[in-house]
């Protein structure tokens, strides 16, 4: 966006309190009546809908600015409060100020030295950019400790805060029964409230008068209750008689008292508390004027029946005005103090809930229907609030959402877009001589026929809708200089996204392929980065609206640019599931194919010519492979590995240990040895994909992945691949063996239990006998399942589809196979055998304290055999734990993610390589402390980077001969680890002046 288009530029923001005078000045009108509209439906003057507060009805004119609805932003009004009221948002600050300042002279109860100390600490915290709250809190804590004001000497009382807005001063006053207490003490009796055995010397009135210095007659008057002792008299009496004549009294501070108190706080004192006295005075916290938000901020809605329905804020303001008026009337009529105080409290309640209706301890103000009102704070807070809902996130145009489904014929860079979506999302064409014909054709097609257009904009700026009726006519008018909003067509770049967008690869750019039907289509290899499947998942698409965005998306966000994950530096896109089974079938036993078959396998790839044949079928089948079925002698054949090798770059050399545990050897782009499966071409760090991406680039890698996927699909279709429940059954002999293995485990468990019961079981170090028994039983049963699994494993052939999937890493594991064909095994809750349920037993089917395997959730059956009812129940218990775990984990990690994103979102890598936050504080001196990108550098703990080797390779490639190289290397060497601007910053003025273009 160009700068000139911004209507206004924000220079600075300042936060502070508002002077009540300022409220009055900015107010368009004083609001005195709670009524909104008169009988004719016109807003009442000085009412809550006063036309000076702005207009919402179209056609009316604003009485303040003269503009119409839409262009008038609205204007604040104000209510003169009958009595000061506390602003809830500042309840804590009020408490702190009351506690920290003197009740008499309002000065902060800190000595000059202490003030200086806190001022210094404030300065350092400010310059470190840390939270000032800690310092001001410490200052208040210190000031609160002073029992006397260091300036006027006044005794300070504790302040109690009753949430939300009531403050009490805890004072010591003369107890009501002071005369009785004195009399009792003089007679040596225990004083009320004291223990019976307290001993006190009796004291005659004369002695007391002497000791305290009070007149004898006065003492008698005090004793008779005719005279209340003064403060000094009281203290003297207390000292002489060793009694306490006071009781605590909660003296409520009214908002007006607090306001008076705060008015006297000197400016320099609040500066010590980190408050800018130029902008904020503490007395402004206590409201005397309430601003009335403009009508535009609380528009009323006209219902179908013509009735007006007011905004929640208006309702709340009505309450405030009503109480305010009653308050004034009562006060003028001289109503008793009690009534005045009640009304005051009510006014406080309404003003409080006007600002925040979710304060703990205060019942929320409700609508007539019982729904709590949404007041100011509720508009801002939370997910749907102004910040998170309207400012950080908004709804956008040019976006579409629908169900996704797979399409293996698409490239991984593409996305199939339903034609109805394509006709709705548009791209702006700037018509010129070269695209004029296209533009006219789109317009002529109209809005309903796919490569059409929905709008045109004439050079004079007028926007016209293209309709079925006017499209032909309009098409002829289109000329260079016009803009045509044409439909999405094949090859356009769009952004594609699946929530939750947890990492960069959750939003990628795809090229459009317009298709029939109603779902988005995507190649299955992009499922891992989006974490998508096709069980009803929906995804979002965004059509880009300017050249800059389209270029950025194409260069930076296209799927092929995201093949390497920044999380672990290896490929996140690669073959999955059936692709892997297919590659395994193709390469594991290296089968042979005749020419037709080989060509068929490669038909969807870019390979259109077969390599030289691997051999000819001969009479005697060769050892390394079977003869192609039914082929005549002398027919050429190609092996699976040869076919696969066609996809590899010609000069690729690679050697590593593969998925099945055998070495994979690639020489000169030929797979010499090894099976292609998960670790070779799979999604998370498939070695071949990873190497091709890093060495040959993203485009080559994209081609490779696409072709692997299509070759794999062809090959799995060639062999045929299906799994059924019968594939997991084992023969009778194996079944017997499995049963024996389990039975013997049961016996061993029984033996363990017996030794435990006879007390002969020896505990393992650091464990109790009970724990030892549990551990040993778990171990025994675990081993039983494993050996059952091994038996089943031996019984299942290598060409068993489930075995193929498990071995190749396509799906499932040998454990899954064990559970299906041999034994499900021990069910666990919280890592232990199942121990909960009834008293001393898990289910009522078992005897109490039965420690046996089946009473604690050992599932002996296999999934194929089916579980008996108890087993089923235990299995459900274990399964439930897993479900709860995932549910809890996702919510926990979601919150954690939000916190992390918020904490890190403002960090930015600068052009000098440093990572800084918005206040220029350095977080890292070099990105990642090494300035390298995870996706550009291949290294890990085992194979560290060989910097010299890389340097040699670069230098070798750079220089034609030794002499050139020598002359360059002898030249000047620059400093390292310096920022890009290091030199220019060091010597200001020496940098070449850069022309600014504005």
């Amino acid at each position: 966006m160009s700068q000139g288009q911004a209507p206004k530029r924000i220079g600075s923001l300042s936060f502070g309190l508002m002077d009540p005078e300022e409220y009055r000045e900015m107010s368009a009108t004083k609001v005195i009546t709670a009524d909104t509209y008169d009988d004719d439906g016109f807003p009442i003057d000085m009412g809550l809908m006063d036309p000076r507060l702005g207009v919402i009805d179209p056609g009316l004119e604003c009485k303040t600015c003269g503009k119409h609805s839409g262009s008038c932003n609205g204007h604040f009004g104000h209510i003169e409060l009958a009595a000061p009221v506390i602003h809830v948002g500042f309840a804590k600050l009020i408490r702190r100020l009351l506690r920290g300042t003197c009740r008499e002279c309002s000065r902060l109860c800190l000595t000059e030295d202490e003030r200086a100390e806190f001022r210094d600490r404030l300065d350092t915290t400010r310059s470190l950019g840390e939270d000032l709250g800690d310092v001001t809190k410490a200052a208040i804590r210190k000031a609160r400790k002073a029992s006397q004001c260091p300036y006027c000497g006044e005794k300070q009382y504790d302040i109690q805060h009753e949430k939300p807005t009531t403050y009490y001063e805890v004072q010591e006053v003369l107890a009501a029964e002071y005369s009785e207490t004195i009399a009792a003490a003089m007679e040596g009796r225990p004083v009320e409230g004291e223990d019976e055995d307290v001993e006190r010397e009796p004291m005659a009135p004369t002695d007391l008068a002497e000791e305290t210095g009070i007149d004898l007659s006065r003492i008698n008057e005090i004793l008779s209750g005719e005279f209340r002792p003064t403060k000094s008299d009281r203290q003297a009496l207390e000292a002489a008689l060793d009694v306490d004549l006071t009781e605590e009294d909660m003296n409520k501070l009214m908002p007006s008292d607090i306001r008076d108190w705060f008015e006297d706080i000197p400016d320099e004192d609040i500066e010590v508390l980190g408050v800018d006295s130029q902008k904020s005075r503490p007395e402004w916290i206590i409201l005397t004027v309430l601003p009335v938000p403009p009508v535009t901020a609380r528009p009323s809605i006209t219902l179908d029946n013509g009735q007006r329905s007011e905004d929640d804020l208006t309702h709340k303001l009505v309450d405030i005005i009503r109480i305010n008026q009653r308050f004034m009337e009562n006060r003028e009529a001289g109503a008793p103090q009690l009534i005045i105080e009640d009304l005051w409290e009510l006014l406080q309640y309404h003003v409080t809930t006007f600002m925040d209706n979710e304060i703990s301890g205060t019942p929320p103000a409700r609508h007539r229907s019982g729904r709590p009102l949404k007041t100011l704070s509720q508009r801002l807070k939370g997910k749907e609030g102004r910040f998170r809902g309207s400012l950080s996130g908004k709804r956008v145009n040019f976006s579409a959402r629908t169900v996704i489904s797979p399409d293996p014929t698409l490239s991984l860079n593409e996305v199939g877009v339903p034609n109805r979506v394509a006709s709705e999302m548009t791209q702006t064409m700037n018509v010129n001589e070269r695209n004029l014909d296209d533009a006219r054709r789109y317009v002529a097609n109209g809005p309903e026929h796919h490569p059409g257009a929905n709008y045109v904009r004439r050079p004079d700026g007028r926007r016209l809708k293209v309709t079925e009726k006017n499209c032909e006519e309009l098409a002829e008018k289109v000329d260079p200089g016009w803009e045509v909003s044409r439909h999405l067509i094949d090859g356009d770049v769009v952004i594609f996204n699946r929530q939750p967008s947890l990492h960069r690869m959750s939003i990628m750019a795809h090229e459009v392929v317009v298709m029939p039907y109603k779902t988005f289509r995507l190649n299955t290899v992009v499922c891992p980065p989006y974490n998508a499947d096709f069980d009803g998942d929906e995804m979002n698409m965004h059509a880009l609206q300017n050249e800059e965005a389209r270029a950025e998306a194409r260069v930076l966000m296209r799927v092929q640019e995201q093949i390497l994950s920044p999380r672990f530096g290896e490929n996140i896109i690669g073959a999955i599931q059936d692709h892997i089974s297919g590659m395994y079938l193709l390469t594991h036993e290296n089968p042979r194919f005749n020419e037709t078959q080989a060509l068929d396998l490669l038909r969807a790839t870019s390979i259109d010519e077969l390599p030289p044949a691997d051999g000819e079928v001969s009479e005697t089948p060769q050892a390394d492979g079977e003869a192609v079925d039914g082929e005549e002698d002398g027919t050429k054949y190609w092996t699976g590995r040869t076919v696969f090798s066609e996809l590899l770059p010609d000069d690729l050399d690679l050697e590593f240990e593969g998925t099945v545990g055998e070495p994979v050897v690639i020489e000169d782009g030929q797979l010499v040895e090894g099976t292609i499966a998960e670790d070779e071409v799979g999604e998370f760090g498939g070695e071949i994909v990873d190497t091709i991406t890093k060495v040959y680039g993203n485009t080559r890698s994209r081609e490779f992945i696409n072709e692997v996927a299509t070759l794999a699909m062809r090959s799995i279709m060639h062999f045929g691949f299906s799994v059924g429940i019968d594939d997991e059954s084992v023969d009778d002999a194996a079944e017997v063996q499995i049963q024996e293995a389990i039975d013997s485990a049961y016996e061993r468990v029984q033996k363990l239990i017996k030794t435990y019961e006879t007390g002969e079981l020896e505990s393992l170090p650091g464990r109790t006998v009970d724990e030892t028994l549990e551990m040993k039983i778990m171990q025994t049963l675990g081993r039983a399942r494993d050996s059952a699994g091994d038996i089943a494993d031996d019984n299942l052939t290598e060409d068993n589809p489930a075995v193929v999937m498990a071995r190749s890493g396509a799906r499932g594991s040998m454990l899954n196979l064990t559970q299906m064909s041999a034994c499900v095994g021990q069910q666990a809750v919280r890592g232990e055998r199942i121990n909960r349920g009834y008293e001393d037993r898990t289910l009522s089917h078992y005897k109490k304290d039965d420690l046996s395997a089946d009473a604690h959730g050992f599932v002996e059956s296999s999934y194929r055999q089916g579980l008996d009812p108890q087993e089923f129940f235990f299995h459900a218990m274990g399964g439930r734990e897993g479900l709860v775990d995932t549910a809890v984990r996702t919510s926990k990690s979601g919150y954690l993610q939000r916190r992390l994103i918020n904490a890190l979102s403002e960090l930015e890598t600068q052009y000098d390589g440093t990572v800084r936050d918005t206040s220029d504080t350095i977080v890292q001196f070099e990105f990642g402390e090494d300035g390298t990108s995870t996706t550009q550098v291949a290294h890990d703990a085992e194979s560290p980077m060989d910097v010299e080797e890389i340097a040699d390779r670069v230098i070798d490639a750079e220089f034609a001969d030794e002499a050139e190289r020598e002359s360059f290397l002898r030249g000047e060497t620059g400093e390292t680890n310096l920022s890009e601007h290091g030199d220019t910053w060091r010597s200001p003025g020496s940098a070449p002046e850069v022309e600014s273009d504005d």
């Binding site: 310059s127 470190l128 950019g129 000098d912 440093t914 800084r916 206040s919 220029d920 504080t921 350095i922 977080v923 890292q924 001196f925 070099e926 402390e929 090494d930 300035g931 390298t932 550098v937 290294h939 703990a941 560290p944 980077m945 910097v947 680890n977 310096l978 920022s979 601007h981 290091g982 910053w985 060091r986």
Partner: protein, 75 residues
């Protein structure tokens, strides 16, 4: 007591001289307070480090061999 600063995994922390600090600050065009911070009580700090000093931390790096960073000592 174990002196963690001698531990293998604790990188070298040394107090930087004033003139060197000026170079660093000039290089990155920052104020002293824009540096990352380290608490005075941090066990890895040398004993002579005082609040307001800048320490240089030299870490071993698999990728760059040596990674040098600076930290401001705070209370």
């Amino acid at each position: 007591m174990v002196d963690v600063s001698q531990h293998d995994l604790v990188p070298e922390h040394t107090v930087v001289s004033e003139s060197e600090i000026d170079d660093v600050l000039a290089e990155y065009d920052i104020d002293r307070t824009d540096l990352p911070k380290i608490k005075r009580t941090d066990a890895a700090l040398p004993d002579d480090a005082e609040v307001g000093d800048v320490v240089e931390v030299v870490r071993d790096s698999r990728t760059t061999d040596r990674a040098v960073v600076y930290r401001l000592v705070i209370e």
